[in-house]
Symmetry: C2
Subunit: 307 residues, 2 copies
């Protein structure tokens, strides 16, 4: 689906792709350094983390940290460190979500899932390790010289990851297979499961610039809207997408009889709603000028991607 | 086994038990408040966390935070908050270690393990949730008014939990079932698996009092020694212990053919070594007076416990 932004859709897409490539290279460089394999019996654990974390995915969350940081002229090396920490948190959640006792997936980002390439115990521990490392990297003095900023980042990330965020959303998602969820409940589920970490990524850029909570309100609105748009696009892709491009199994929600935005709204209304959310997300940024161009372009990108 | 402390073994044991009961009640009170069950589909997740976290275990780690905090006259409410956060981290590790793909245990602290009482997916997510909550609680301004102290606590706890700590030690422990580990490797394994979190607990008391790293050296020595003594006692209990008192399955290392302090040293030398470590731990505290009485008493307690 296509959403026009001031008639500049093509250049906006190019802008996203260029920033994305740059951020992806930077995140991989940090992971290479931070996940160096030790010469002891923990080598397998590090190999498993590297398998899941390096050279994979859209790096949407680090891209959002960078784009939000750009609004406030945050040093890009700092945005990148925080982005890599959020990405580690995201990767941990994918490893655990793919486990046989959860979604039981064999393929992720075009590669075998960690429990398939290694084993289940290693997958649990690789996820647990990335979870702890995300906080360790975030709170390192190299992330920001001000300990208040570091502790705020930890606080917001912990909330986004825990039972009032990602883990709680995954719990609701498991319940969705047997319960009959309505639209408000599915919305809440997705706000926790994917929305909380996306919101953290956007807000982190502002926290790095010491913007107080009041000043982050437009960004929060933006993040809420693109988070939902992203998930609606994901639900549409689950029905219409190409497994080879997606690098993971699709048509799973349908098979599980799970309520999604598509089953609840129909595919056409879902597509419309995603478009409206993108426009609304961009409207939240009306107080900013050119420095928000990347954030605006990302809003359109989250519903246009084919994987 | 009994270690005499200035001829006051009995009163030292009483001192430990009194502090332990007080700390346990305080930790349970915090968990009751922090883990209130929400009226939504995440209720089962919270029930699982409560099952594992409330009213169980020796609360050794919160007791150590309190005892170390007492050295520096740290407000006991603050020690307790940090203790509850460490205990949440410990409980998460127990939930994941008990999983079928790990140690496959049915019983923990005298109750069914989380994956037995609930299911595997809920157990993974309950562990993940407690992991995130430990950081959220730790970094809350209520834990300490100084953000530098909060960020230091997060940093040390993240290290103790991650691949260079607890998770790394568990990975080595899995490898121990097929590898032939020697005494230095088993020592390293245990320093990561149980030692790192015990060391954090002791050091946290000093961090709360803003004692710089140099000033924490005796406490680190103390923690290293009691951590190993604790693990040797655990290995002895695995051979000689009573399952009903322990509240978990024993004789598992033997069945798995795993190298432990007992298989490598023999039970008599292991017992001797534990006693020496306790004496050495207490010697590290020689610069302190009466304010270290509880820490001294705990050193003896870690090898005397029957569960």
């Amino acid at each position: 689906m296509t959403v026009r932004i001031d008639g500049e859709t093509a250049s906006a897409a190019m802008r996203v792709r260029a920033a994305q490539a740059d951020v992806a290279a930077g995140v991989d460089e940090l992971f290479e350094r931070w996940l160096a394999v030790p010469a002891d019996p923990r080598a397998r654990l590090y190999e498993a983390m590297r398998h899941a974390a390096i050279a994979g995915g859209k790096r949407l969350r680090p891209l959002l940290v960078r784009a939000a940081g750009d609004l406030f002229h945050v040093d890009r090396a700092l945005s990148l460190r925080v982005g890599a920490a959020v990405e580690a948190m995201h990767v941990y959640s994918l490893i655990h979500d793919d486990l046989p006792c959860m979604d039981d997936d064999d393929l992720r980002r075009g590669k075998p899932t960690v429990h398939r390439a290694f084993d289940e115990a290693t997958a649990v521990l690789a996820g647990d390790s990335l979870h702890a490392l995300a906080f360790e990297w975030l709170v390192d003095p190299a992330t920001h010289s001000d300990p208040f900023v570091r502790s705020e980042l930890v606080r917001e990330l912990a909330r986004a990851a825990g039972p009032a965020g990602m883990a709680g959303g995954q719990m609701m998602d498991l319940a969705a297979e047997t319960a009959d969820f309505d639209l408000p409940t599915v919305t809440r589920l997705q706000q926790l499961k994917t929305g909380a970490l996306i919101a953290f990524s956007v807000e982190a850029g502002a926290i790095l610039a010491r913007i107080p909570p009041d000043g982050r309100i437009p960004l929060r609105g933006y993040a809420r809207d693109i988070g939902l748009a992203f998930q609606i696009a994901d639900d549409i892709m689950d029905v219409e997408g190409d497994e080879a491009l997606a690098g993971k199994a699709l048509h799973k929600d349908e098979a599980a009889g799970k309520a999604t935005f598509v089953t609840l709204m129909g595919i056409e209304r879902a597509r419309e709603q995603a478009g409206l959310l993108v426009e609304q997300a961009i409207a939240h940024l009306s107080g900013y000028g050119d420095e928000a161009a990347l954030l605006r372009a990302i809003a359109a990108y989250v519903v246009e991607r084919d994987h």
